[in-house]
């Protein structure tokens, strides 16, 4: 690993934001990915993660802080762990991928 890579950290990006089509029903979302042809039913938590990642790729920590913004509660370490698991599930569903930031 060279010096420039040492400064990088592992983050997440949405696979292809332009190919995602959303339908919102209360706190649930239907998501159609025209790249893969897959349809996903997602809870609000997953939808917010994807929408945040569509703004820009980021680490789980940065993502946690962004999602906690405006909340009175501090962003807990366990929330970051929870997000990491969620991001891995979204990657398995073909919606996110890891990226060097």
């Amino acid at each position: 690993m060279d010096v420039s890579q040492q400064a990088q950290s592992s983050g997440w990006k949405i696979l292809e934001a332009d190919t995602l089509h959303w339908e919102k029903w209360g706190d649930q979302y239907a998501l159609y990915d025209s790249l893969s042809g897959e349809t996903h039913l997602l809870p609000e938590s997953s939808a917010r993660v994807l929408q945040q990642l569509s703004v820009r790729p980021c680490t789980a920590e940065v993502l946690a802080r962004a999602l906690c913004e405006g909340s009175d509660e501090p962003c807990e370490e366990t929330f970051v762990e929870h997000l990491s698991q969620l991001l891995a599930q979204l990657r398995a569903a073909g919606l996110t991928e890891k990226v060097w930031l």
Binding site: H21, E23, G26, Q28, A30, Y32, S34, T39
Partner: protein, 301 residues
């Protein structure tokens, strides 16, 4: 209409250049040399429009007697769609159910200009009730019962959704009743015309319920979707109409479609629009009268 052709003229077209029948949005070119098939075709499709040649047909169907020993030993009938034979031959006397199944198969395989739901569809007061179900849920029986009580038949098999505007298109055809359903509908609607019983088919005994003339005459008139009701027949079960939320209805409907995946984004948009625009329920029932009362109340509310 087909009834306007003499038996001889009908026979001649079937044997020669083909009979062009209009059923819903489709034109079917039909050829056949099966004598026993023609009276049933005339009985069940008598009110259907005949298209005069030259015309473009959506489906080219032939019902033929295969050659060789099967021409006279346990004679058979073969179904050809666009020159291809997708099924094994049936016994000759089953030519009519073979035509019905074969045409259904052809529509399901080819009519991808529409989103196709596997559902019965009926209309009342200008809005459509969609009854999506897989085999065994009592879809055709409930549909036949509703039609016998005045609902307009769109189809007992296909929910055809025009993706451009979300309108439902009629495709009225004879309703195949199976096994116990035949007597259920005979008792429920004694005035209904039910054709001969075909025993020993892949689905047991099948008899066809004639489509009401009014449904055939209005087969060119689409209607917007109003209600999505997933029927579930359970012997002895009390009637229960349970509302379901949009995500649940979306999943059930997308999984029920013949060609949701093939439709891509427009399929997603068509299903979400249906779910948004319809009242959505699961209907558990055993008593047809009670089920129809409930659905009438739903439509008249």
């Amino acid at each position: 209409m087909l009834a306007g052709l003499t038996g001889e003229a009908c026979h001649q077209r079937l044997a020669d250049r083909g009979l062009l029948l209009k059923t819903g949005p489709f034109t079917v070119e039909l050829r056949s040399d099966i004598d026993g098939f023609i009276p049933l075709l005339r009985q069940f499709y008598g009110q259907f429009p005949v298209v005069e040649a030259p015309a473009i047909a959506d489906f080219h169907v032939r019902l033929l007697r295969p050659g060789g020993v099967r021409r006279w030993w346990r004679p058979q009938v073969q179904f050809l769609l666009d020159g291809q034979s997708p099924f094994r031959p049936f016994q000759l006397s089953h030519a009519f159910p073979l035509f019905e199944w074969g045409l259904n198969w052809g529509i399901a395989m080819q009519a991808h200009q529409y989103l196709m739901l596997h559902s019965a569809v009926v209309e009342r007061a200008g809005k459509v009730l969609i009854l999506p179900a897989w085999p065994g849920c009592g879809k055709s029986t409930l549909c036949a019962a509703l039609v016998s009580r005045g609902w307009r038949l769109f189809s007992d098999e296909f929910g055809l959704v025009r993706v451009a505007d979300g309108q439902m298109l009629p495709l009225p055809r004879p309703t195949p009743l199976k096994n116990k359903s035949i007597d259920v509908i005979r008792d429920f609607a004694p005035d209904a015309t039910i054709g001969p019983a075909f025993h020993g088919t892949r689905k047991g005994t099948v008899a066809h319920l004639q489509t009401p003339d009014a449904s055939v005459i209005q087969a060119h008139i689409p209607a917007p979707p109003g209600w999505l009701v997933f029927p579930r027949y359970q012997a002895g079960a009390p009637l229960h109409l349970k509302p379901i939320d949009m995500p649940q209805a979306f999943l059930k409907l997308a999984n029920n479609s013949f060609n949701y995946r093939l439709q891509g984004l427009q399929g997603f948009q068509a299903v979400t629009r249906l779910v948004r625009h319809c009242d959505r329920y699961i209907l558990s029932y055993s008593d047809l009268d009670a089920a129809i009362d409930t659905l009438n109340q739903l439509a008249d509310a």
